[in-house]
Symmetry: C2
């Protein structure tokens, strides 16, 4: 028993130290291993399989909207990075520079891409001539590098995996529509696949992407009440087009600048999965994204016929399209349960001699720990129902948590008190002035998360400065 | 008509200048665009979609053998690269070095991975303790960088995409078996999916991978009679394990070094696809790997009902599981045919008013240009049959080409004559001495491609030096 308890006991409880709990889960669930390379992590099979499922599902959704995948070079010549002024200012301080190739010193430094707007712009300037060439709807899956000082697995690391979509359009309206469309793709994906509800909205100018006209975001609320920016979609207008001279001849044969967008989601979203759903036993994965949805665990596995029966249940579940594994190792059942829970596998199926006698198995839900005795005649059917139910319940609980941790502030004192005492989002009106945004950050460390699409008129004035309120903002502390 | 001819006329014929033909096809089929980054290419949607299909199919085959995917950092600290002596000697001259991060100069240079043996070894040394932890069967899909002087799209570029599998085993036998197993996965994949027959064998010591005990290879023959190394699988023995101290305790609790393998296939294989199957009209893709298998092209598309009918044929084919597109652009049919041929789409389906009257369509095979009139009642069925037939025929033709261009040399004069006059493989015996290998290369520019698994005893002595022959070798000029 001592050994069995070890796996769970070895992780810090959420209430005691949330940051340490996160680190423990990431390590014990074998999602990540630290590496000898400063700020870089190794994504292990349990972690990478989650990313593969995210990729598969997002990629399918992108392609349904007409997006095609490409691959761009990982290096950006310094002169190219510098073409758009705001963009280079935003990124230059945090890039890694290649200065030597083989035995020679390079005539021009190359940065390892922190994002690929400049490369796509250069590419588009070569391949776009006519309105017939538009729109261009390209995306790439790749890794990018940002030389961060402090790093945390998935949330912030010197190198991370992501997708970056880059589109070029004939008109401003079309670019804006695409920006919103992709934000909606992200939001739907988070809700439907990851069981994570998000707030959709626009970033303030202070928080927007370097070089963008407007940045839209989806913001999710973690278990500890902090926000995580989970995906962004940017409308660049024709700013990059002018910097990179991307023009097309319209149907009247007039030269026009294109309008561009970009949008990205990264391995950061795995951090959200962990922090929205996890508990003191470890990870809790929504069935639709879980690499393994069911673990079959034999009880008294040395008894005659048990292992064979367990294997046959695995086969039945697999046949029904469930991603299932059998834990046939020589560990004790208790240890196997702990591992299955730590890894967040949505259900386990227990089968032992007594169950066999009664032609049944016990399905245990990871999310609620509920045990359900199920006839073997309808095992696959029931398992599917339970998985669907878990997916729905996890989303419902996350929505409930979001609702319970979203507050309203009518004056600034109330706002400060909420931020200090109640982790979560605070809705408060804003005048649109960056000075108020800065003051809030200085006073409370909370930042503007977004100006949500769903607006409310809480007060008529900005509680910070008393000037007329322009918009309602979600404020919060963030990762 | 002038415009229609342009697409085809704009590419050089194979017989005139094969290298230029290759470059033209790559560009006109829109597989690749050159970039502003030295030695790096942009893989466009038509090219990347081929890579996605390759990935999907290879990845499925890897996973069937128990392989799991991971992601390792893209940077390797110089000290880590230097741990295995042969390895660093092989790669150090051709790597790109990061020396600055953000605004600071790094205390230690980081190279951008040219391959990840050293990172996997470091990782394995952390996570392998017991024989229960073995085998480890990991793979990653990523990009790597080798600072090549001369570059050609897909065949040789400063950055390229690939997969690299890295495994660790308890015994020498198991590592050797895995090395061969993965070589067979590559060979089967090439034959079954890409319709490319390959020669399987072992590399000579001179040609093996830096740090490997033995390197196995699959060698394919291009249309111009030059060889292309298309995939390699390495057995490292315990050399890396000793350099990186990767030990496990065996069942008797004794410390043992692991035995390791690695194996890789890259975007280079797209070069093989082009050069094995292509012709003067462009690319010719085997149906199983083609991103688009059928293009529906309406004839007299402005006539009433034609476009609607064409769309309905597209839907019928899609429904049947064929990857199909409809070319509903306002280009002429002739231009559309040229584009479909240039892109190597295996079949086109022509439908016009006359066909509609007779409830038929015309299917044109890309590989043979054969036209088949097909009743619309059995369109999907026939299209599938034709696609299967194309796949088989393309492999058969490639096999025939390989056979016709494989020669046997019994003496060295004959060998030199063949190499000079007949592009292809030459089978000749070898004593095993590197001096003879070097002499052959100097005299003819041909290199040893591999010592094939299927051996023959052509002569008893090495035709170069007259010493006893040890093995038969495939020799040839190579990309």
């Amino acid at each position: 028993m001592a050994k069995e308890k070890k796996l769970v006991e070895s992780i810090t409880s959420m209430s005691e130290d949330f940051a340490q709990w996160y680190t423990d889960v990431v390590k014990k669930a074998e999602l990540v291993e630290y590496s000898n390379v400063r700020g870089c992590m190794i994504i292990r099979p349990n972690g990478y399989a989650i990313w593969e499922n995210i990729q598969k599902e997002l990629d399918r959704r992108f392609k349904e909207t007409g997006v095609e995948n490409v691959y761009m070079p990982m290096f950006i010549p310094e002169s190219l990075l510098q073409k758009e002024k705001d963009h280079v200012e935003g990124f230059a301080p945090e890039v890694a520079w290649v200065t030597q190739g083989g035995l020679e010193t390079l005539p021009e430094r190359l940065c390892v891409r922190p994002t690929s707007e400049t490369l796509f712009c250069d590419f588009y300037s070569r391949i776009i001539q006519s309105h017939r060439d538009l729109p261009k709807l390209y995306n790439q899956w790749c890794s990018v590098v940002r030389w961060e000082k402090t790093t945390r697995p998935f949330l912030r690391s010197a190198e991370f995996l992501w997708q970056e979509g880059h589109t070029a359009h004939a008109t401003e309206e079309e670019a804006e529509a695409r920006t919103i469309q992709m934000l909606n793709v992200y939001a739907d994906f988070c809700e439907e696949e990851l069981a994570i509800p998000v707030i959709k909205g626009r970033k303030t100018d202070k928080e927007k992407f370097a070089g963008a006209h407007s940045t839209y975001t989806i913001e999710a609320l973690m278990h500890d009440g902090k926000a995580l920016q989970s995906g962004t979609s940017h409308n660049f207008g024709d700013g990059f087009a002018k910097a990179f001279d991307i023009q097309y001849s319209d149907s009247q044969n007039q030269l026009q600048y294109v309008h561009q967008t970009s949008w990205g989601m990264s391995t950061r979203i795995i951090g959200a999965l962990i922090m929205v759903h996890g508990d003191d036993s470890g990870l809790k994965l929504p069935p639709r994204i879980a690499p393994v949805q069911a673990m079959v665990i034999p009880i008294s596995q040395r008894k005659e016929g048990v292992m064979e029966k367990a294997a046959s249940l695995r086969d039945v579940l697999k046949e029904a399209g469930i991603r299932v594994k059998l834990d046939d190792s020589d560990k004790s059942p208790g240890w196997k349960f702990s591992e299955q829970e730590m890894r967040g596998i949505p259900i386990r199926v227990e089968i032992g001699p007594k169950d066999m006698e009664q032609n049944q198995a016990v399905i245990v839900r990871r999310d609620t720990r509920e045990k359900l005795v199920v006839s073997l005649d309808e095992l696959a059917e029931k398992a599917k129902e339970i998985l669907d139910c878990i997916q729905k319940d996890m989303l419902a609980r996350a929505k409930e948590h979001l609702k319970e941790h979203t507050y309203v502030a009518r004056d600034y004192e109330e706002f400060k008190k909420i931020v200090a005492e109640k982790p979560g989002f605070v809705k408060m009106m804003w005048c649109g002035d960056e000075a108020c945004e800065l003051k809030i950050k200085e006073d409370t460390t909370a930042t503007s998360r977004c100006m949500p699409f769903e607006q409310e008129q809480i007060t008529d004035v900005c509680p910070v400065c008393g000037k007329p309120a322009k918009t309602m903002v979600y404020w919060g502390k963030a990762y």
